[in-house]
């Protein structure tokens, strides 16, 4: 107990020092020395006494495809199964070595409401391995991973598979409530007369279906609409959004061509060809982007189809273990999963500001500052949302007025930010994105030789998440 307190006070002092230093960075000579100091300090591991080291052994994902393309005839658990099998292949993990499986999903297929279990059985995992499904909008697989971390930290498991799947090619479309009520009553109707009278009560209006929408239940506002208002609130222009979208596609293309996206596995789609590449990456020209009409707020909005993430099918999976167990099994882990936070705020006007709230919180928890982070992977729901978050993070006024902080946390430098593309270009299968972000951070840390990475994401419901990831010593 005392040790922990001692450590906490230490890290607090360090935070204070670092913030103080970063204030002085106006003077050039000073700033370099500060940098060196920060670098020197940051070589320290974030291991905490009394807390288990938990590692990411590996992570994979199916190619992310635009919905309605090659995956169109599958079901969600098929995709999830492909990711799980891919993980098994990649790691050579014995199927009975897994203690538990947690999977995330957002739009639930009603037939496979516990998609984790269906996919695990289909992927050939032991039927003795329990599995459950979690949902937390776009941070569902982050929730799956932190659930795994929790299970390991609590000493209940040693090896957990986490993942997420989203299948937008087929979504449940329901009968209207009136029709459902009639149909349910029909089950109970005993006589032919009663049945006929129920059937006779069906009106044309009963037949119109209920379509699912990416809309907040609490505010009835669609996410794109909210993103457009958020961009406007922070004065993000259409040009800035289009530029960011183009950046995402360009970087993704480069990463794809350069073979950086090694988390992608090949998947033989039944009845179709082998798929081994994401198919939504399309670098266009600024002129082409500028031609598009706003998709949500018409005619003066700024969010378009091209600067938003598109509807995507895909699944991802990661293997998380205690460091001890991983080493005992002969694995060379890729990264440590360190501190994480979940945040939530106003689902109307700050729906997509999760990263702004989560970033300073998780940094404080780890005793780091923004400067310590080498790799940033933020979920790109909309270009406007990213730009708004960057502006919010750069604003002292926002930090003081809405976050109860004395100063801003600062915006991540762009050269460290989503350099292999992001959800805008790679695609965004809601519940699969979280694992992609974490795996990408691990891979980038390895490639770039960095020490710390930061994952941050927003989610429907006005929630958000961030996690600090530390490179595993090579």
């Amino acid at each position: 107990m005392q040790i922990i307190e001692h450590f906490m006070s230490l890290s607090l002092i360090r935070t204070v020092l670092l913030t103080a230093f970063s204030f002085c960075s106006a003077a050039r000579s000073l700033s370099t020395s500060v940098h060196l100091q920060a670098q020197a300090k940051s070589k320290k591991t974030l291991a905490k006494p009394g807390v288990k080291n938990i590692v990411l052994v590996d992570g994979v994902r199916t190619p992310f495809l635009q919905s309605g393309t090659t995956y169109a005839d599958l079901m969600p658990h098929d995709l999830a199964r492909a990711a799980l099998q891919g993980l098994l292949n990649r790691t050579g993990l014995p199927k009975d070595a897994v203690d538990y499986i947690v999977y995330g999903t957002v739009i639930q297929e009603v037939k496979t409401s516990n998609v984790a279990r269906e996919a695990a059985l289909g992927a050939g995992f032991s039927d003795k391995t329990p599995a459950h499904t979690v949902t937390m909008a776009c941070i569902s697989s982050n929730q799956a991973m932190t659930t795994a971390v929790g299970l390991i930290a609590a000493g209940q498991c040693d090896a957990v598979v986490a993942g997420g799947v989203e299948f937008m090619s087929d979504v449940p479309i329901r009968h209207s409530r009136k029709m459902r009520k009639t149909m349910l009553s029909l089950n109970k109707a005993k006589t032919l007369g009663a049945r006929l009278s129920l059937l006779g009560s069906i009106r044309l209006a009963h037949l119109s279906p209920e379509l699912p929408a990416v809309a907040e239940f609490s505010t009835a506002e669609t996410m794109g609409h909210s993103a457009d208002r958020l961009a406007a609130a922070f004065g993000v222009s259409r040009l800035e959004q289009d530029e960011f979208a183009l950046r995402s596609h360009t970087l993704a293309k480069k990463a794809q061509d350069g073979g950086m996206l090694s988390d992608v596995i090949s998947f033989k789609v039944p009845g179709r060809d082998i798929v081994s590449k994401d198919n939504g990456i399309r670098p266009a020209t600024m002129e082409q982007l500028a031609k598009l009409k706003p998709a949500f707020i018409k005619p003066h909005g700024t969010v378009t189809a091209a600067n938003s993430s598109f509807l995507t099918d895909g699944a991802s999976a990661v293997l998380i273990m205690s460091e001890e167990k991983a080493l005992a099994m002969g694995y060379k882990p890729k990264a440590y999963l360190r501190d994480f936070v979940y945040v939530s705020q106003d689902p109307k006007d700050q729906l997509l500001l999760g990263p702004t709230y989560a970033t300073p919180k998780v940094l404080e928890k780890s005793g780091l500052t923004l400067n310590d982070i080498d790799v940033f992977e933020f979920h790109e729901a909309f270009a406007g949302q990213i730009m708004a978050n960057l502006k919010a993070m750069e604003s002292d006024w926002f930090a003081q007025t809405y976050m109860g902080r004395k100063t801003k946390v600062g915006a991540p430098p762009m050269e460290k930010f989503n350099t292999w593309g992001g959800s805008l270009s790679l695609g965004h299968p809601f519940a699969a994105t979280g694992c992609r972000l974490v795996t990408t951070v691990a891979h980038r840390l390895q490639k770039e030789g960095g020490q710390y990475g930061l994952v941050a994401a927003c989610a429907a419901g006005g929630q958000g998440h961030a996690m600090v990831i530390e490179a595993y010593p090579q």
Binding site: D228, D349, T401
Partner: protein
């Protein structure tokens, strides 16, 4: 009690936030411009952005000063060849332009003077309508009266889809008409039926409805906070969007004309037929006459102006508009309504200062009609509320009432189901005193029986913290009698709500000699939060409102005994301007309540409160004729037929108590004045005795709580306009026939003697 809907608050006028600074003066302005205080402009990309901001008020109004500066700025813009279009916007967060400056008209001595003022306004708007460059009105907040007329003279209108953005022509509620081109432009813009609806009801129109009607072209979503506050950024954004549209208009990328749908085309065609229009004028006229009983001149004049404009052309229309406005401004009805408007504004302020502690947790005792109503209006404003009853059935009924009240709002779309649920989560229904130890105020609404009230006071005082205020909701029991059981009378106060609580605006607060000032301040603060119009009166049997109503109801019972049927009685009272007839009112209040009050006050005030026989009411209660709530009172309720049927059982009772009507005082007009004079005399007596602090609160209480004819402006304004001497004369005449129930009080006699004495200036 019946609600008075004729006068609706001009929301937006009172609930405005302080003006936030908005960098509004561009650097390039000349020295002449610097002298301007209300209007400024800068040119952005060939678009002149005209910003309005009255530094002396929370809302913008079109007064002499504002108009002069606007004319000056607009002329400058027209003179500037670099300006290709203009945007008109307010720098105030909650107000575009809330209307014309009423003081400007009130300062005028003659109708001609008023007409002349209006003609200047008409001319300005006509120039804007014919402007060589397009004007875009960017509307955020209240856009009412003259403000709306200004906006509709512009070529294009953009409004924020905010709850605060309301458009409307409320002039009719002040006994006036839209006098700056509104009666001429609106019918062309939204069609004859919608225009009549707007102008004759004065209703507020929300932005999305305005878009559907064709009143605005484009909506802008309100923004949340960004690098500035939500309000500030929303105005900025509105301006940016408006500037874009202004450029679009110049570049012909945006068209003003909306493509008309088939229905619209059909409607236009039909409206183009003179006989159809004639029929509409006639129908609307008849409807107005039926509803206003001809007591309100403004609606008829509005129809006249619209008709003149359409049938005889613009010039004749404008002339008719300005002349009729001038005439209306000189009517006693308009003065009465404007008086009520100002009175209402005054009664929406806390004159007792900031209370020491804000009430954050309130408890209501008794989940009956009143208790549940009070709980509803409290949670609706975000205050956590305990609703306590003694039985599960009573509690469930009360909770259902609250839920229904809120759910009805979701059906009208003024609330989302989600907001409803959140509001409901603030309500804690319970049967015990759990949580009372944290209550800041307790309002009891238990049965009107002194011994029960005493029991409740003792029980509650045993569990509440020392700072907690105990308010009692009673309609007649003197507060000091209830306070007799209290250990801390300085914390005890009367809060008399009117039923239905969520509809009736009035709250009558009653202080005893022991009530502390902070307790009063706190009760007023709670009432204001609940959205009430508040009068604060002294203690006594029936306080102010019930005391005024009781003699009038006694007189109504007498009239019924004299053989005036309930229907006749109703038509006499509504014919005088009461929104609800006396017999119906008795049914609404509840015959049992009326009997209870009549007996109590009869004991307190003696024969002055006599007239009708209380036994009539008691007998009705005995037979179960308790009014609307029991299905039978003076009338029979329940059946779905529109025509109300007189309850024959009640008629039989009346026959058994039959009195002979003295012919000298039984003409229709006599009956009306018998009813009204007793009401008015009692009101004046309340002022004389110091129960009422001032005539303004007396007028507001009578109109908003009891439905005293709004066109008369309340009992005190009625005495002023009718003449105290004439009223006294009438009362003396009645006194001869009936005795002391009609003896005018001293203050009324004083006013009769000296005609220079007036209750209102």
């Amino acid at each position: 009690m019946a609600s008075v809907r004729l006068l609706v608050t001009r929301s937006g006028c009172t609930a405005l936030k302080a003006i936030t600074g908005h960098g509004q003066r561009s650097l390039s302005v000349s020295s002449a411009v610097l002298a301007r205080t209300h209007v400024s402009y800068e040119v952005k990309d060939n678009v002149a952005v005209v910003r309005i901001n009255d530094p002396t008020s929370k809302v913008n109004t079109l007064g002499r000063h504002m108009q002069a500066e606007l004319v000056e700025v607009i002329n400058e813009i027209w003179g500037n060849s670099a300006v290709k279009s203009a945007v008109l916007i307010s720098s105030k967060p909650g107000s575009f332009i809330a209307g014309a400056d009423l003081n400007m008209f009130q300062a005028c001595k003659t109708a001609e003077e008023v007409s002349y003022l209006l003609q200047a306004g008409q001319k300005m708007f006509e120039q804007i309508e014919k402007s060589p460059i397009p004007f875009v009105a960017a509307i955020n907040g209240s856009c009412l009266g003259g403000g709306l007329e200004f906006a509709i003279a512009c070529q294009y209108r953009i409004a924020t889809k905010s709850k605060k953005t309301i458009l409307g022509t409320p002039e009719v509620m002040l006994g006036l008409l839209p006098g700056a081109g509104g009666t001429q432009r609106l019918p062309k813009m939204v069609g004859l039926p919608a225009a009549f609806d707007m102008m004759l009801t004065g209703r507020n129109i929300k932005a999305d409805k305005a878009k559907k009607m064709g009143l605005v072209h484009q909506l802008v979503e309100p923004l949340g906070p960004g690098l500035k506050s939500a309000e500030e950024r929303t105005i900025e954004y509105l301006e940016e969007v408006a500037v874009d549209f202004a450029k679009g208009l110049t570049g012909k990328k945006v068209t003003v004309e909306k493509k008309k749908g088939l229905m619209q085309k059909v409607q236009d065609f039909v409206m183009g037929l003179p006989p159809v229009r004639k029929q509409i004028y006639k129908t609307v006229h008849n409807k107005v006459m039926k509803q206003s009983k001809g007591l309100y001149p403004a609606p008829l004049k509005i129809i006249e102006c619209v008709q003149t404009g359409i049938e005889k052309g613009n010039a004749a229309g404008y002339l008719s508009e300005s002349e009729n406005f001038g005439k209306l401004a000189m009517t006693s009805v308009s003065r009465a309504l404007i008086g009520l408007f100002y009175g209402q504004v005054a009664c929406k302020k806390n004159h007792f200062g900031q209370p020491e502690r804000e009430v954050k947790k309130l408890a209501v005792l008794g989940a009956g009609l009143m208790g549940a109503g009070i709980a509803q209006v409290t949670i609706d404003k975000g205050v956590a509320t305990i609703l306590k009853d003694t039985t599960e059935e009573g509690l469930a009924r009360g909770q259902q009432q609250v839920y229904k009240g809120l759910n009805d709002k979701t059906k009208k779309k003024s609330l989302t189901t989600f907001e409803r649920d959140r509001i409901m989560s603030l309500l804690s229904g319970q049967l015990d005193y759990r949580g009372f130890e944290n209550a800041d105020m307790v309002i009891e609404a238990v049965f009107e029986d002194l011994s029960i009230k005493h029991k409740v006071v003792k029980e509650v005082e045993a569990v509440i913290p020392p700072h907690c205020i105990f308010a009692t909701n009673t309609s007649a029991l003197p507060i000091k009698d209830i306070a007799a059981a209290s250990k801390r009378p300085e914390k005890l106060i009367g809060m008399h709500y009117f039923s239905p609580v969520d509809k009736m605006q009035l709250l009558e607060i009653i202080t005893t000699s022991k009530t502390s000032k902070d307790t009063t301040a706190s009760a007023v603060a709670v009432g204001l939060k609940q959205g009430k119009v508040i009068i604060v009166v002294g203690d006594g049997p029936g306080f102010y409102t019930t005391r005024c109503l009781a003699p009038m109801l006694a007189e109504a019972v007498r009239a019924l005994q004299e053989g005036v049927g309930p229907k006749k009685l109703d038509s006499l009272t509504t014919g005088f301007g009461f929104p609800v007839g006396a017999a119906t009112l008795a049914d609404e209040v509840g015959i049992d309540v009326a009997a209870h009050v009549a007996e109590d006050l009869g004991k307190a005030f003696g024969t002055r409160f006599g007239g009708g026989n209380v036994e009539v009411l008691k007998m009705m209660v005995q037979k179960g004729f308790k009014g609307r709530k029991s299905g039978k009172g003076c009338y029979v309720y329940g059946a779905k037929s529109k025509e109300k049927k007189v309850n024959s059982g009640a008629e039989d009772i009346l026959k058994s108590f039959k009195l002979t009507a003295p012919p000298a005082v039984s003409a229709d007009e006599d009956i009306q004045y018998r009813l009204v004079s007793r009401f008015v005399n009692e009101a004046v007596l309340c002022l004389q005795e110091g129960i009422l602090p001032d005539p303004v609160q007396g007028d507001i209480g009578a109109v908003f709580g009891l439905g005293f004819p709004p066109c008369l402006g309340g009992p005190f304004r009625f005495v002023d306009s009718y003449g105290a001497d004439k009223l006294v004369q009438k009362m003396k005449h009645f006194e001869e026939a009936y005795g002391n129930q009609f003896t005018p009080c001293q203050l009324l006699l004083d006013h009769a003697k000296d005609s220079s004495k007036r209750f209102h200036k």
